[in-house]
């Protein structure tokens, strides 16, 4: 047996020593796979040669349910797809059916929807940031993030009675009008929340250990990102300036003044884990801007007037997409003229974003897989549907 590393490497090169790849199983019960994802890692020593994801541990048959339900009954199931961003999921589905039926929703509804969607985006990013910190080994930011998320959930709860899954945005309107003092609550929240972003920056984002763990790890070049269909912070982290809220505007996003955040590679290479993470942090600030502007011109009105009595879209089909906190959430709805959808296909952003993991993990160490997976920010409910 050889004594030194060099001698060992020589032996391997000369074929005197046999080496083999190691297969390691990660998940479905693993604290940092964010749910029930199973990764099969093929390793060479500690370096990753290949990652084979196995999905479907949370396949809850969304599309089958959608075919068996009437149009409004599908909305609660959309909640349960991406349970961290239920409002945005409702929004996408409601928009799809409204476009099929040609419904115009009242001004006030649009404003409430935007405010809710942006609050939800902040809440979802807070979870992503907190759990990402936890994966890297920083527990405290998680507590800070969840503290502020609770304030958002309180606002939602006062308006619609639920903390997590709301069934709030209906086809043509909303289930309830907002509660009295909603505007004050939201303004108060924004005022309290802005300093948190700085806190998180100080605690986590510019922490040397954190940067060492995430910069230059899992670099995703822009052309690969597009070919894999990545979207949301994944795509923007790679420096592609693309946001559906601006580039394929829906609802009333075109009325507000805000910026699309892209990764610039401040800590390392453009498209690394740190960039993806920072895009989320910056986006929270932009969401605050949008909400503030929406509050300034918040109109009065009736929110129920456009809700149709019978929801039976005419024969046809439509593909609608909205910008969910994780990226492009698409609904492909086919109507055959009856009261049940003929087919609903949901294009989950996490499902698509996750497919790139093999490409960006190769050559990294096992510990980096945890960082990469955390920065992709998947929600298994939507990966598996």
């Amino acid at each position: 047996m050889s004594e030194t590393l060099e001698a060992l490497q020589e032996d391997i090169a000369a074929g005197r020593l046999q080496t083999d790849e190691l297969v390691l199983n990660m998940g479905p019960q693993h604290p940092s796979t964010h749910g029930v994802l199973r990764l099969e890692l093929v390793l060479d020593g500690e370096a990753v040669v290949k990652v084979i994801p196995h999905l479907g541990y949370l396949h809850r048959c969304f599309e089958k349910h959608a075919e068996a339900m009437t149009y409004p009954q599908v909305i609660p199931y959309t909640d349960r797809m991406d349970y961290l961003a239920a409002m945005n999921n409702n929004h996408g589905y409601a928009l799809a059916v409204e476009r099929l039926m040609g419904i115009e929703v009242p001004e006030r509804v649009e404003y409430i929807r935007i405010i809710m969607a942006e609050l939800q985006r902040i809440a979802s990013h807070l979870v992503a940031i907190g759990t990402f910190g936890m994966d890297i080994g920083a527990f405290t930011p998680f507590l800070y993030c969840f503290r502020d998320r609770e304030y958002i959930l309180d606002i939602f709860e006062r308006t619609c009675g639920a903390r997590l899954l709301y069934n709030y945005m209906w086809v043509g309107g909303l289930s309830h009008d907002v509660h009295d003092g909603f505007e004050k609550d939201v303004a108060e929240f924004i005022r309290k929340f802005r300093p948190t972003i700085k806190e998180v920056n100080d605690l986590l984002n510019y922490n040397k250990i954190f940067i060492e763990r995430t910069a230059n790890v899992g670099v995703l070049p822009p052309d690969v990102a597009i070919s894999y269909g990545c979207s949301g912070p994944m795509l923007r982290g790679s420096g592609v300036d693309f946001d559906l809220r601006r580039d394929d505007p829906y609802s009333i996003y075109d009325r507000f003044d805000w910026e699309v955040c892209v990764g610039k590679g401040d800590a390392g290479t453009v498209g690394d884990c740190w960039d993806r993470h920072m895009v989320r942090v910056w986006e929270m600030e932009q969401s605050c801007n949008i909400i503030e502007q929406a509050l300034e011109s918040f109109p009065e009105g009736d929110i129920t007037e456009a809700i149709p009595k019978r929801i039976r879209p005419p024969k046809g089909e439509i593909y609608t997409r909205v910008e969910n906190p994780r990226g492009e959430l698409g609904y492909y709805v086919i109507s055959d003229g009856s009261q049940n959808p003929f087919r609903v296909k949901a294009r989950g952003p996490s499902f698509v974003n996750l497919s790139v993991i093999d490409e960006i993990s190769r050559g990294h160490l096992i510990a980096d897989i945890v960082a990469i997976l955390g920065s992709v920010d998947i929600v298994l409910g939507e990966v598996d549907r």
């Binding site: 999905l55 479907g56 396949h59 048959c61 599309e63 089958k64 075919e67 690969v224 597009i226 070919s227 894999y228 269909g229 592609v240 693309f242 580039d247 046809g316 089909e317 593909y319 997409r321 492009e328 698409g330 492909y332 086919i334 003929f342 087919r343 296909k345 294009r347 499902f351 698509v352 497919s355 790139v356 490409e359 598996d384 549907r385």
Partner: protein
Amino acid sequence: MEHKEIFDHLTALFPETGLEFDEDVPCIVVPPAAIRDVSLQVRDDEMLQFDFLMCLSGVDNADGTLGVVYHLHSVPLGHKLTLKVIVPADNPHLQSVERVWRTADWHEREAYDLVGMVFDGHRDLRRILNPYDWEGHPLRKDYEVPEFYNGMKVPY
């Protein structure tokens, strides 16, 4: 570019293939054996540049045919396109576009898993959501839920 213009452009390039234009949706219906070439063309054509496959859905049309729908978007040019392929349910073979857009890999596996069309040329066509030993394709309209799976009762 609008769908009609794209259709005219493509028929000029593929006169033999038999592309059809569906006014209602609107979309371009492509024969199953040509989808790979058409996809490569729309991706690489200077005027089209559809580099982003938004969504690939499998549909059971309930009339003995299955459909695959491709929703495309071009990031540089900002226009959209819908392609459709119709295959018979008893011989659901079509070409895979997995090497054209890498994202199609998982989408095609999903369509195979849930609706059951076979993508020829896909390098790794396995089930993706259901367990590997699952039987049947749940999104077929005539699908029957099994009574037991692995000794566990399935219906309520």
